[in-house]
């Protein structure tokens, strides 16, 4: 091991297990299990029918194997599709939340107790398959903003959910989206009415706790005409030797002049140095700029998971709509990532910007895969793509697969790419000026990621910088 590689060895700080009595549905997937989940959530008939339709479709689908990642076969019958801490079914106030759950989220830096709440941020805390608390709901309701677990939305706002669910990511979109559509449990629902600028940052924190379970959350965000919302998700999981599947679906809908800013700080358990355990993060995220002059901006900082496989994309349907994708993906130890975005230009004068920063250390493999598609009707569409890779050590890999499909000759496309290597000379230069090896790496990496970090909401930019420091600590000596 070179002195540079000797440095990525920092224990995962969120790997603890909460000892709490849970109700776990026996492993296995069948129509009965789906009926059971739907029943537990108290769903209307149409929702169950939709789930079953997705399931029957999924049975006919093949698990795809085209990404640049390697993993053993997944036994879908060995996974439990529902796990929830035992507590009273309906909570009148947050004071009734099991103190163990409150303590768990507190330990993760997500205070959900009334007096300790983060100022300016409303939080939905999801533990395994259920949401355990959502803060500031009443406050947001004053503005007409709905922010609640999706299971609650299905019960209380069925028309809205029925109108939009599956309109951006159809139930048969892909293998994992179909699976999610069949078995999804909690996730967040956001509705911002006409002309409202959501007064708080909205945030969901996902925690996997139970073993041998998968997490299949579903999030739906609807921004009505002229509205604005900024949403951030975070996540973590205990350290276990088994791989756990996390197959989420996120759908965003932005109507005329609406803006949705969606940020992710992904810190699922990445597995150990030898690649044992860790989360398979196979996620479908897509936003539709349905209205004219609408805008959807994805920012992701992906530091966790054994395998990350996702392409948060934008369908730019409205004229003059804007799609953005800013990404930092870190792979160390034996982590693998195949991530990027899809920008589908349908409307006139649509614009997209892609800035991707991949950092590979240890034996990590990092792939950027992106599609920019300019359809016939997209007069005057523009795309700017920038893909930068950074290598730390000599056993890791960086790969770039940009796909471009242009069907309108007025399109303007720009693509830039670079690969750099943090070497001993670079670290030495900074150490010679008095910085410790850790500070030197952190400075180089943060400088590299600066264009992405500046897109994060202020409250979380610091967290992202810190997280990156932890992921790479030990990678340079």
């Amino acid at each position: 091991m070179t002195s540079i590689e000797a440095h990525v060895q920092q224990p995962y700080k969120y790997g603890f297990v909460t000892d709490i009595e849970s109700e776990v549905v026996p492993a296995g997937l069948s129509e009965d299990v789906i009926r059971l989940i739907s029943g537990k959530k108290g769903e209307p008939e149409w929702m169950l029918d939709w789930r079953l339709k997705a399931y029957r479709n999924w049975l006919k689908m093949q698990e795809p194997h085209w990404p640049n990642v390697k993993y053993g076969p997944i036994d879908y019958q060995a996974i439990s599709y529902y796990a929830a801490p035992k507590q009273q079914p309906k909570l009148d106030s947050l004071d009734q939340v099991d103190p163990k759950l409150v303590a768990t989220f507190e330990k993760l830096g997500i205070p959900i107790e009334e007096q300790k709440r983060l100022t300016g941020v409303a939080v939905d805390a999801v533990f395994d398959s259920v949401s355990v608390a959502t803060t500031f709901q009443a406050e947001l309701a004053k503005y007409g903003v709905i922010f609640c677990p999706i299971s609650q939305a299905i019960r209380e706002h069925p028309d809205l959910v029925q109108q939009y669910i599956g309109t951006v990511v159809p139930y048969n979109d892909n293998f994992f989206a179909a699976l999610n559509s069949a078995v999804f449990t909690d996730g967040s629902f956001v509705y911002v009415p006409n002309g409202v600028r959501c007064p708080l940052e909205l945030s969901t924190y996902f925690r996997i706790n139970a073993s041998s379970t998968g997490q299949f959350e579903r999030t739906l965000i609807i921004a009505e005409e002229g509205s604005y919302v900024s949403y951030l998700e975070g996540c973590s999981a205990p350290m276990r030797d088994e791989n756990q599947l996390h197959a989420a679906v996120v759908e965003l809908v932005a109507l005329d002049r609406a803006t949705i800013k969606y940020s992710t700080i992904q810190n699922w358990y990445p597995g150990d140095e030898e690649g044992r355990g860790g989360i398979y993060n196979f996620v479908t995220k897509r936003g539709k700029c349905a209205g004219t002059n609408s805008k959807i901006s994805w920012t992701q900082v992906e530091t966790g998971s054994a395998i990350t496989w996702k392409y948060p994309g934008c369908i730019l349907q409205g004229d003059n709509s804007i799609g953005e994708f800013y990404s930092v993906a870190v792979t160390s130890h034996r982590q693998q990532a195949d991530t990027g975005t899809k920008m589908i230009h349908l409307g006139k004068n649509t614009r997209s910007t892609i800035v991707s920063k991949g950092i590979s250390a240890g034996r990590g493999q990092n792939t950027y895969r992106g599609l920019v598609k300019i359809m016939k009707g997209a007069e005057g569409a523009r795309n700017y793509s920038q893909c930068d890779s950074m290598l730390i050590g000599d056993k890791c890999g960086a790969h770039t697969f940009p796909y471009i499909d242009v069907r309108n000759s007025t399109a303007i496309m720009e693509h830039e790419a670079s690969t750099s290597k943090i070497g001993e000379d670079q670290i030495f230069y900074l150490r010679q000026r008095g910085l410790s090896a850790e500070d030197a790496v952190s400075m180089i990496v943060n400088g590299f990621c600066k264009e992405v970090f500046k897109e994060l909401p202020m409250e979380f930019a610091v967290e992202a910088t810190r997280l990156l420091g932890i992921s790479l600590e030990g990678s340079v000596g």
């Binding site: 002195s3 001993e424 000379d425 010679q432 000026r433 400075m443 180089i444 400088g447 600066k450």
Partner: protein, 257 residues
């Protein structure tokens, strides 16, 4: 001549890189306030000496000692040496994307200040320190808000090294071929700044292939390094002699000795 205290004392230093022995027994004593020049042909080990004194991890010390302010320099990490006042102006300064020169220099200065138990400087206080330093060497702040060395010309990179030297105020400044790649105007600018920074509490070790830098910075002692050993030491006139005769006559001397 009244001699100051020994700041750096190198004895019998043997150094290898990638298994090849480059320095084969170097002895060198530098006292407070002295300016030493190390000259020698390509491949003689000049840059190796500069790098190993600063603690570059690629160099392996086979034998010998280096005492700095009475401490074992070779036992210190690179950042510990820097914080103790050893500064290396790099021959090839590296780029750091996305980090402004100003932020970088403040971080470095604060690392040194923490070591000395002094309070860290916030951006506003730092700006005042920086402006005073720039003024003292007669430069402007045009490089400060650009990313560290990114897109800098060769001359700008070398000037940036000297600016760092000015702000970090080392006790021992090692200049590794700072003159290489500079045109005559840039050379003069850099040399004048170095002269400004000379003082009785600061010693310089100037590594150079050519004598021309020494036309502007008059050294107290000139050493000639050939094949990993110091084969001759003398006053400034030795540099003139080398300029006139080249290095070959010395190399022959090594062979008979």
């Amino acid at each position: 001549m009244k001699k100051g205290k020994a700041l750096l004392e190198v004895k019998g230093l043997r150094v290898a890189v990638a298994g090849n022995e480059i320095l084969k027994g170097v002895d060198l004593t530098i006292r407070d306030g002295e300016v030493h020049a190390i000259m020698g042909p390509n491949g003689s080990g000049k840059s190796t000496l500069a790098q190993v004194l600063a603690g570059h991890p690629a160099y392996t010390v086979l034998a010998g000692t280096a005492q700095y302010e009475g401490k074992d320099l070779l036992d210190m990490k690179p950042e510990e040496r820097a914080r103790a006042g050893v500064f290396l102006a790099f021959q090839y300064p590296v780029e750091v994307r996305g980090i402004t020169n100003s932020y970088f220099l403040r971080s470095a200065l604060n690392a040194l200040r923490r070591e000395r138990g002094e309070p860290e400087l916030d951006p506003i206080d730092f700006l005042q320190v920086l402006e005073a330093k720039l003024k003292s060497i007669g430069w402007d702040d045009s490089m400060m808000n650009r990313p560290v060395n990114e897109g800098f010309s060769g001359g700008e990179k070398k000037r940036n090294e000297i600016l760092q030297l000015a702000v970090l105020e080392p006790r021992l400044a090692i200049l590794d071929e700072t003159d290489s790649g500079l045109d005559i105007d840039a050379l003069r600018t850099v040399a004048e700044a170095v002269n400004q920074l000379r003082n009785p509490k600061r010693a310089f070790l100037i590594v150079t292939h050519y004598q021309r830098l020494l036309n502007y910075i008059t050294p107290d002692v000139v050493h000639v390094l050939a094949d990993g050993r110091i084969v001759r030491s003398g006053g400034p006139e030795l540099a003139q002699e080398l300029e006139a005769k080249g290095y070959d006559w010395l190399r022959d001397g090594v062979m008979v000795s």
